[in-house]
Amino acid sequence: MADTDVLPNNTSTGLETSGPRGPRPRPMLSRRNIILYGTLIVIAVYYLLPLYVMIVTSLKGMPEIRLGNIFAPPVEVTFQPWVKAWAEACTGLNCDGLSRGFWNSVRITVPSVIISIAIASVNGYALANWRFKGSEIFFTILIFGSFIPYQVMIYPIVIVLRELGVYGSLTGLVIVHTIFGMPILTLLFRNYFVSVPEELFKAARVDGAGFWGIYLRIMLPMSLPIFVVAIILQITGIWNDFLFGVVYTKPDTYPMTVQLNNIVNSVQGVKEYNVNMAATIITGLVPLIVYFLSGKLFVRGIAAGAVKG
């Protein structure tokens, strides 16, 4: 038997060798797992149920909706409500559906996002790395701006836009979105650039890079995550905006959200629930897609400031 005693030490210590060893077993149906996954499933269902109802309803014809079984899947699947919402639904004078509003929203969102982020990132960079006399005061004023309720400024801005001759046009709305995005975006970028080690900035100065050289060649390539955060914030914010859209545009230039409201809240005629549901989903699709495509980067960007010193 002596040659089977591979570990003679074990026998001499008298410790039990057949006892627990390696990773502790964790059964799938433990109490902990049931509670954890149970809660998650309940919450997920709670949030997904409205979406389910919307999708199901949008695929039914009106006679089927009138039966009242809102949770029942469609017996006869029809895409007619989607077509109608996109191309035929009437909002005021125009009967070309949401498509007009969609393109308006694109024409508002794209320039607003690009211009506001371009300006705010340079602002944040200057405030973080090129402290100038009064920069702290400037920053305080800017931050203060984000606490003023928008409603206070609506009328003064109407006057300003009228005087500039851009009231009611897409240009006017782009200007408004750019300005209102400035405080929060500047804060976002400043805090990110402050977290970039100061020595990197010093090294670039010794290497002869100037204000724009450091911004474009050092800071910009390092800050993709924060740009993604800013882009998502701005796209969702501007796309979902209703207040500025309804105040500063006219029917021809209404963004999608305003058009959606006009479709859903129309008081004459039959309430076409299936068209309303389809229209709502179409309108919400853009921010949703943006988030799904860049969600990972978004989380990384939000966390970046916290992890890196």
Binding site: E199, A204, G208, M222
Partner: protein, 361 residues
């Protein structure tokens, strides 16, 4: 010969806080100067002023005979190495090295030649295509030195370049920096809080405190003849032992408690014969024990309180005549806590400081 760097009446304050005060310094061509001090003494600030990364409040800075007080960092003919390496994370090592040269609009061929030369000197040629994230700490610091090297600058500024490395690597790179200096023989200013780096690298050390240079001298001078008690305590580990006492009227005896030390052999400043309250300091490594102690001019009986064997040496904390003293003994000595010990020293190795001004007497 014209000094490589000369600083005249430099002052810098942030609001009411004076960081540097009326500072004057001249660094010779090819000299290795170390700025040494504890944190907050202004040593890094001074380096940043020389680099042009901070605007000075008053005074002038000359580099290579040129007044660069108002010049941009890139126009001062300096290369700088930072503690955190400060490599541009999105560029390869080659990109990092060439960034400054591209900004200076040098021809492509010359950029390539300089980058290759620096990489060869620092032995980072195989790493040129890598990004900083794929390098180890020592390789990163080498790349950072390379970035200073390609600039062909006459003056190198190092801001605690080795503080982020582990002890072994720090010692290796210390040697490499010294060899680099021997090879390039350009002026180097090196900021550190590590006295071993300072002692081993420097031609001259400037000990700073509170925005002032307390002492500027060779490592030898600073170690053997510290100008005041602060410098004496700062240099050396463990710190110098101090006796609180009185110098007699004839400047020939120092009395502390019940003991009287003869001061024969101690070199007071020429032409002075101080008296009154004073500190007498003696370094642990200048204390002797056993038979040597019996022969020493000053002797004490004591008891070992604590032993710290270091291999090469043995440190012992000895309580003798009401004093608690560090003594550095031979590494092979066998003593243990509670042993009786005779210790002694030669007053010629001691340092005596005025009680109130704390300046060396």
């Amino acid at each position: 010969m014209e000094p490589s760097i000369s600083i005249k009446n430099l002052a810098l304050s942030f609001g009411a806080l004076e960081v540097l005060k009326d500072l004057n310094l001249e660094v010779a061509q090819g000299e290795f100067l170390v700025l040494l001090g504890s944190s907050g003494c202004g040593k890094s600030t001074l380096l940043n002023c020389i680099a042009g990364l901070l605007d000075v409040t008053d005074g002038q800075i000359f580099i290579g005979g040129r007044n660069v007080t108002w010049q941009e960092p890139s126009k001062r003919g300096i290369g700088m190495v930072f503690q955190s390496y400060a490599l541009y994370p999105q560029m390869t090592v080659a990109g990092n090295l060439s960034f400054g040269l591209k900004n200076a609009r040098l021809p492509k061929a010359e950029i390539e030649e300089r980058v290759n030369r620096a990489a060869k000197i620092l032995q980072i040629e195989p790493l040129l295509k890598r990004k900083p994230a794929a390098l180890s700490g020592g390789q990163r610091q080498r790349a950072a030195i390379g970035r200073a090297l390609v600039r062909d600058a006459n003056v190198f500024l190092f801001d605690e370049p080795l503080s982020n490395l582990d002890a072994k690597l720090r010692a290796d790179l210390r040697v490499e920096i010294k060899q680099l200096h021997q090879k390039l023989s350009n002026t180097m200013i090196y900021v550190t809080h590590d006295q071993i780096e300072a002692m081993t690298l420097a031609d001259r050390i400037a000990i700073m405190r509170g925005g002032l240079i307390l002492q500027l001298g060779s490592p030898n001078e600073i170690y053997n003849k510290p100008v005041n008690k602060y410098v004496a305590e700062f240099i050396g580990s463990p710190s110098m032992n101090f006796f609180d006492g009185q110098i007699d009227d004839s400047s020939s005896k120092f009395s502390t408690g019940a003991q009287v030390f003869p001061l024969e052999g101690y070199g007071f400043k020429e032409g002075t014969s101080p008296k009154g309250p004073a500190w007498l300091g003696i370094r642990p490594e200048h204390m002797v024990n056993g038979a040597e102690a019996e022969a020493a001019p000053i002797r004490m009986q004591g008891k070992v309180e604590l032993v710290e064997p270091l291999g090469s040496d043995t440190l012992a904390r000895v309580s003798a005549e009401g004093h608690s003293l560090w003594v550095r003994l031979d590494g092979q000595v066998s003593i243990s806590d509670g042993d009786a010990i005779t210790i002694g020293f030669d007053p010629a190795r001691a340092n005596i400081f005025d009680k109130t001004t704390e300046n060396r007497l």
